[in-house]
Symmetry: D2
Subunit: 232 residues, 4 copies
């Protein structure tokens, strides 16, 4: 089994039930009752809801992604509790030898202090040294893992040696309101009223999710950006 | 505006993203990783998940209903927090004169003690007296409501006089796991491992929801019934 | 049993585990690990968390209130899902004849349009007419309720005639983060970055809860107000 | 900085608001309204609630622990969404060189199939080989981590090399109902109506939490065990 080093992420929208129209229909039930179901899409209404932080109409639009990302990304991802997760199990499955090694564009050096870090590129030396070290240690850890499995050690025990840059795959289901909360915290943008400082890698995953959001719910996405990328 | 008395409920599934297949795919990610997405439906797997209370694969299947029911039903319904709601507003909308009056088949007399009530039919006298009284009082309350609105009183104030048997309409979005929890508590069934004693009216609403669940996710529904109607 | 008309609310903090210190200790675990538990209170840290919307350290401080309020208030209250509720049951308990009738200071007339209503006082005629009508209809509904109970009708059926201004009592447990969300939506304040238009009555309840919050967590409350009364 | 290898966990209850009495008071509000607050503790009531799965009165009793455990334990722990977490950050803090290496009593070999694994002890050879390999690889990974930090690489990047057996510390706040759900899934017991197969390490953590639960809420704990260790 040959080891794979990657610096990208799989973010595949596998199912959805998401449309700007649903936001408008559910919002209008407050003033129109059952007649709301016959109503149409309205950019103005969506903007009104976003601006005034009426969030509940954004909960009825649902996205399911299948995502492959390193464990250190999942550790941050699963702190978002308004979502449903099913993930590959290191207890029940032999994990694949796929590891994250940053690409050369990844800023490596942090300056500033906790809560307001800025990141700047590393030198070539820093990058090469890091990339080689990560590859070596990933390979060593995976070989240890295989060796222990060969020795008859249970998967859940042998995996203790694996580093947090190993990839794992999970299904994630989120509604549009929870998604906007996720995006507000896990993307960095000049448009944000409240600045977030997400780690580079989860930001890449969030960017891919945002493209699906924008494609399926263009008016909601536009209103989200216009109103400072805050969860309504 | 002529007053309407009803004893039924509107339960319309307006959108869904629900299929037994989704349960199987998301469950299999634990042992198959990304390959799970190419896998098929399996009655045996669904039964295994239900029997062993592996609940998370049942969270990725979503139902949105538009439901009209009396306020006393909504009061019970909205105690279920793993769901999304948007409801007609008595602050922003003049409420329609639609009121619940039990039908003759509704058991009216409770025997036993709190926590284990049984219900038995009332006499004709009891039924007629109750139905007439409810009609009179609903009409009186609604006339008071209209009169105060005519006097210029705000909707949110005038509605204070309205009884809990007035109908209200809401959108409800739930995943299949939360739905099974709802059904386990809000339906009464001999098949239940744990007996529930729901109020008759919310039980009727839950029965209608269960039909949609059974139709869209027949294997999951069958496993739910087989394993004592407990939420996995 | 003599009927009671009230225009106030019981908001009693019965238990709490809430202190500015807990916010600081839990926040510092990110940079200090286990040493965080020995650390002290810091106004600057609390302000930093609030300003940058780091909300999770505000989830470990807990409040339990016992609250008596009319059903129309509870209907709004229980839309807040990040909370725990236990309420008096109209199925298991004969409800007390306690009804809400607005006091003379309650603005009765709404002007403007949905989403941006303003309220102004009513005339004396409007007030007296409303108050008398509510008293009459509450009394009539309660007498009907008692009469049906006397006829042997089950409590859960007889209560269908009762109006939404009848009082009910519940325990509510919330953490400080959920509480700030509640306060941001259910109080009206010039200090709010995002204006809310809560109904007068739930605003009164929220004001009483806010006093307890301010007393037990003065630095957090101060930071909440300073940063626009938004939930972090 | 000298490396530490451990096979135990720190589970310290740092705050609580938990008592069997609270369960009884909140439960009785349904039949006694505000009078419930003057009522006392009742073993019979707690058993009734547990047996009939009336879960909400168990949500008002709160526990906060500070726990140190390996990342692979936290990965399982944080799947429990009805809880509040604040954890040590690998982005903001240099992680300590503390790693989990199983003790000799830890069963190392799994037999059976996914969903129904049994674990049996390993041989001395298996144990010694595993323990030595884990120590070597943990040390190598931590040295790599320190080396990259010395090279000026950001903490959040350098930590990618660290294995999931490194310890991390977090505060966890849970109510008694969520705790019983956690215990039902993360402990293995002959008393369980539904068998769970938790990983050994999280089971140890759960056992320590259960002792605090039993000490502070003895009647609730007794009822939990008596009724098959299911979450009500």
């Amino acid at each position: 089994m040959s080891i794979i080093f990657r610096n990208d992420f799989d973010v595949n929208l596998v199912r959805s039930m998401a449309d700007d129209l649903y936001v408008c229909q559910t919002a209008r039930v407050s003033t129109q009752g059952a007649d709301s179901y016959a109503s149409g899409e309205s950019k103005g209404l969506i903007n009104f809801l976003m601006e005034n932080r009426h969030g509940s109409p954004f909960e009825h639009e649902i996205f399911t992604w299948m995502i492959s990302a390193p464990i250190f990304v999942w550790r941050e991802f699963m702190r978002h509790r308004i979502a449903s997760y099913n993930e590959e199990s290191g207890r029940y499955k032999q994990l694949e030898p796929v590891f994250y090694v940053p690409g050369p564009e990844r800023p490596l050096v942090q300056i500033g202090k906790p809560g307001a870090y800025e990141f700047v590129p590393g030198t070539s030396y820093q990058y090469v040294n890091l990339a080689e070290a990560l590859k070596l240690s990933s390979r060593a850890a995976y070989n240890l893992y295989l060796g222990e499995l060969d020795n008859g050690i249970a998967k859940e025990v042998a995996r203790m040696a694996l580093p947090v840059n190993i990839y794992s795959t999970a299904y994630v289901t989120m509604n549009a309101r929870a998604l906007m909360n996720f995006l507000s915290l896990r993307t960095k943008s000049e448009d944000s009223t409240f600045k977030s400082f997400p780690q580079y890698e989860i930001n890449q995953v969030a960017n891919a999710m945002e493209l699906d959001f924008q494609r399926l719910m263009p008016l909601t996405h536009e209103a989200f950006v216009k109103h400072g990328r805050m969860q309504p």
